[in-house]
Amino acid sequence: MRSEMKKLQGKPSGQKDKPGPEAGQPIIVDVPKGKLAIIKERCKSCGFCIEFCPKQVLEFSAETNAKGYRVPAVKYPDKCILCGFCSMYCPDFAIYQTKNKEK
């Protein structure tokens, strides 16, 4: 898909240069049965993930992204049950997860 996107990013008229997907590398955090990932540059500090996490795993960090939004951080990774609420609520596709493959 990346090569397809690069081709499309050719030179359509009026298209400003946008940071490509490479700029949005996720920060990956291990949790008991999988991983959480946060793509800082996408976050707009809505607070949904932090508020609706049933285990209060997330908090606002002191860090801001390039647009000045405070991004979430994983405060208590060991409490994460991979319920998926943060992923489901995020309006900007900035936080998501994976379960580890069953052995």
Partner: protein, 295 residues
């Protein structure tokens, strides 16, 4: 890209490549970030819509999103499906023409309450009457957000908007009431907070034959919430959490939104009747011996 079953497997077993968001491949990355404000419910609803489309098992090459004008209408431009961004209020008749020409497509109309029920009201009632096989998703944020927060047909009484600076005095619609009254076969209302219910309602609406309607209440932090001192998008999501009540058996005419009152949500109608396509097929069979399209 007929990868719905593979994506579905990923989503249902929760195992995916952690280096990219599992929904990224269904979104036009060269149009991101989207235009919606921080705290707007549309991003969450868009997230839920994508999950629902994949979970429904439909062939992704056969999905067509038809939208109108407004913040919600921008969804058609963000999806890596066939997307048709039409004129204000006219998504439903456009979608009707598309669906009738191509019964094999899964046509999903996604638009705001102003687009679907004010300027588009006439088209809504007739598509419901005809039971055109469409999934209609209405994001209701109680105002016209794109143009600066003017009142809409669902603005609660006494609410302040850009064109009701002294408080709205018009009675608002109950959208589920209209949908049920015109014969929609599936009618549900949820909120952006109830995102899992939103997903399952959309899955059901997509899989169901006939005119299916899902209303989703959504925060508009920049206009409606600000003008009515309802806080941020998050505050409104918390409001939905605390002030909604699920009631399946209810008089639909009584569930328009009131300021500060409880919002009644639920699956209200779920029935079956012949669709417009079924009836056209019956007519065509009489002359040609075959329906227009086999299921």
């Amino acid at each position: 890209m007929s990868c719905s079953s593979k994506s579905n497997a990923e989503l249902s077993n929760g195992v995916n490549d952690i280096n990219k968001h599992p929904l990224d491949k269904f979104i036009r990355q060269d149009r991101m970030p989207h235009i919606w404000c921080p705290g707007c419910g549309l991003g969450t609803i868009f997230n839920g819509l994508l999950n629902a489309i994949i979970k429904s098992g439909v062939d992704l090459d056969k999905v067509a999103i038809v939208s109108g004008i407004g913040c919600t209408g921008r969804i058609a431009g963000y999806v890596k499906f066939d997307g048709f961004h039409t004129t204000h209020g006219r998504a439903i008749p456009f979608a009707t023409g598309l669906k009738l020409a191509r019964p094999d497509l899964k046509v999903i109309v996604v638009s705001g309450e102003g687009d679907l029920f004010s300027i588009g009201g006439n088209h809504f009632i007739h598509a419901g009457r005809r039971n055109v096989d469409l999934t209609v998703i209405c994001v209701n944020n109680s105002n016209y957000g794109m143009t600066g927060g003017q009142c809409s047909a669902t603005t609660p009484v006494k609410a302040i908007t850009a064109t009701t600076p002294f408080g709205n005095f018009e009675a608002p619609f109950s959208l589920p009431h209209i949908a049920a009254a015109v014969g929609a076969v599936y009618v549900a209302r949820w909120t952006a907070y109830h995102i899992q219910k939103v997903q399952s309602a959309i899955v059901h609406a997509i899989q169901k034959k006939g005119f299916s309607f899902v209303e989703i209440m959504s925060p508009c932090p920049t206009y409606y919430a600000r003008m009515n001192k309802l806080g941020s998008g998050l505050d409104m999501m918390k409001f939905y959490k605390e002030n909604t009540v699920i009631q399946q058996e209810v008089e639909l005419k009584d569930i328009s939104i009131t300021r500060g009152g409880k919002i009644v949500i639920g699956d209200f109608v779920d029935k079956d009747r012949p669709t417009f396509n079924d009836l056209v097929d019956e007519l065509t069979c009489r002359f040609t011996g075959a329906p227009l399209h086999k299921e």
